[in-house]
């Protein structure tokens, strides 16, 4: 069990791994927005935490002062190898233009609106099959038995890797994102992913398929094949970014529906509300926080930011800013004005947003079709993960 020193001053000494923050950050953000809208801490290095929509989106658009070369919310504590296997990290997410621009263009068509429609029936069948596995029992863990199982299999399909390894992939991704302050687990996750993709690249080189990994391998840049480290980084990105994030959004949405009977009944009785409700649930329970690095000393909104400082792009808090959203802390399923930035803002808008939306919608449609009435299991704990990605990790529900 990890422990963090207690936080007494959220404005000057915040900690995103604090247990209270992970379980219920909303009140903390509300308080910060009115007293200290860009908080600071020296825990794990000098780090800023904007909480207002205006500030978060302005930083996201200022790529000159705020670089994406370091996007991990929790820094890696340990010695970096002298010659890293992935010198460019996971492009395009960990890149600035020009590398960002062309690597992103390689990935985007795989997640276009049209392509994503093609993954829909596979996703629906997958959700249905998972529900078959537990519906007769009258209870399930909506996080581990359902939400956690969906995105990893869809992503495996797109990458052209075996869905049989889904649990292994999930373990590696959690090591990298959720247990990032645990040195051994992080190394285990990074090495597991890298070695796996090195093997897959060798296989595709001998025998190309029609999957994303094969296409990356056969991409030429300025007349030369794309560097292996870039192929590996982009492939690992698709897996890492496509698993924990969407699973957390599905889990948080099911937690909301398990605890808000009126919203649950409305979504069952009025399927037309689904598309707006998906956006509203993404707004209210945005899972993802990314980081930026300050490139040169700059004063931003009165804050003296130094080169090398980290900024936590608090998209989840921006999405609850009452300056932008009426009744920001309420879920209004048919909210008509909803410029949420759950998928970020600016040039790093989540490349998989169409896919994530589709997965969330199908996961909720299938669950509500077959399990319209459910609630939290009495006396059993719901647990949350936070930091880079927030969502429920244990979500025991019953549907007698």
């Amino acid at each position: 069990m990890r422990t963090t020193a207690p936080v007494h001053e959220w404005g000057s000494d915040f900690d995103v791994l604090d247990a209270q923050y992970v379980a219920d950050p909303f009140g903390i953000w509300d308080q910060l927005r009115t007293t200290c809208p860009i908080a600071h801490t020296d825990r794990r290095g000098s780090t800023w935490l904007p909480t207002r929509y205006e500030d978060v989106t302005a930083i996201a658009h200022d790529i000159e002062h705020f670089s994406s070369l370091e996007v991990a919310v929790i820094p890696f504590e340990g010695e970096e190898p002298e010659e890293p296997v992935l010198p460019y990290g996971l492009p395009p997410i960990s890149a600035d233009p020009p590398l960002h621009t062309w690597t992103r263009r390689l990935l985007l068509p795989w997640f276009s609106h049209n392509r994503v429609e093609g993954y829909e029936s596979m996703t629906r069948g997958l959700c249905d099959g998972l529900i078959d596995g537990f519906i007769a029992e009258g209870r399930a863990d909506a996080a581990t038995d359902y939400a956690q199982q969906i995105p990893v299999r869809v992503i495996a399909h797109i990458l052209g890797v075996s869905p049989d390894l889904s649990d292994t992939f999930t373990g590696w991704v959690r090591d990298v994102l959720e247990f990032a302050d645990d040195h051994d687990r992080r190394v285990n996750g990074v090495q597991g992913l890298l070695q796996y993709f090195i093997g897959e690249v060798a296989k595709r080189r001998a025998q190309p398929g029609d999957d994303l990994l094969s296409e990356l391998l056969h991409t030429e840049v300025d007349g030369k094949p794309m560097e292996d480290s870039l192929v590996l980084g982009a492939a690992a990105l698709v897996l890492i970014a496509g698993v924990d994030t969407t699973w957390s959004a599905i889990g948080s949405s099911l937690w909301h529906l398990a605890t808000h009977a009126e919203d649950r009944r409305r979504m069952v009785q009025d399927p037309e509300v689904m598309s707006l409700a998906v956006e509203e649930l993404l707004r209210a329970y945005s899972p993802v926080t990314m980081a930026r690095i300050v490139t040169s000393d700059v004063e931003f909104a009165g804050c003296p930011m130094k080169a090398g400082d980290k900024i936590l792009m608090n998209f989840p808090a921006a999405n609850r800013d009452p300056e932008v959203f009426a009744d920001a802390d309420e879920v209004v399923l048919d909210r008509a004005h909803n410029r949420h930035v759950a998928f970020g803002s600016g040039i790093h808008r989540c490349a998989g947003s169409n896919l994530a939306r589709m997965e969330l919608r199908i996961a909720l449609e299938e669950w509500l079709r077959r399990i319209p009435e459910f609630h939290l299991a009495d006396g059993e704990d719901v647990t949350w993960a936070g930091g880079q990605v927030r969502g429920p990790r244990l979500l025991p529900v019953v549907f007698p």
Binding site: T57, R105, L108, P109, S112, H113, N114, S275, E279, A336, H337, N338, R339, H340, V341, F343, S345, G346, I347, R349, S353, N354, R357
Partner: protein
């Protein structure tokens, strides 16, 4: 009513297409453009306003 999408602001969130697929086209990279010259039939004006109000990049305007 007539609308336009600013190609420099659009980042491919595809919210406009989700709300009003009759009024927008999206390419493989997510970039949105208006259908035709951006003229909105009277019965779709409400949805055009919805698209404007939901774009996270403020990329859609009434002209």
């Amino acid at each position: 009513m007539k609308i336009r999408v600013d190609p420099d602001k659009c980042q491919g969130h595809a919210r406009c297409y989700g709300l009003a697929p009759e009024l927008f086209e999206i390419d493989d990279y997510g970039t949105s453009t208006v259908v035709g010259d951006g003229s909105v039939p009277p019965d779709l004006e409400d949805r055009a306003r919805l698209a404007i109000a939901n774009c996270p990049e403020f990329a859609i305007d009434e002209v």
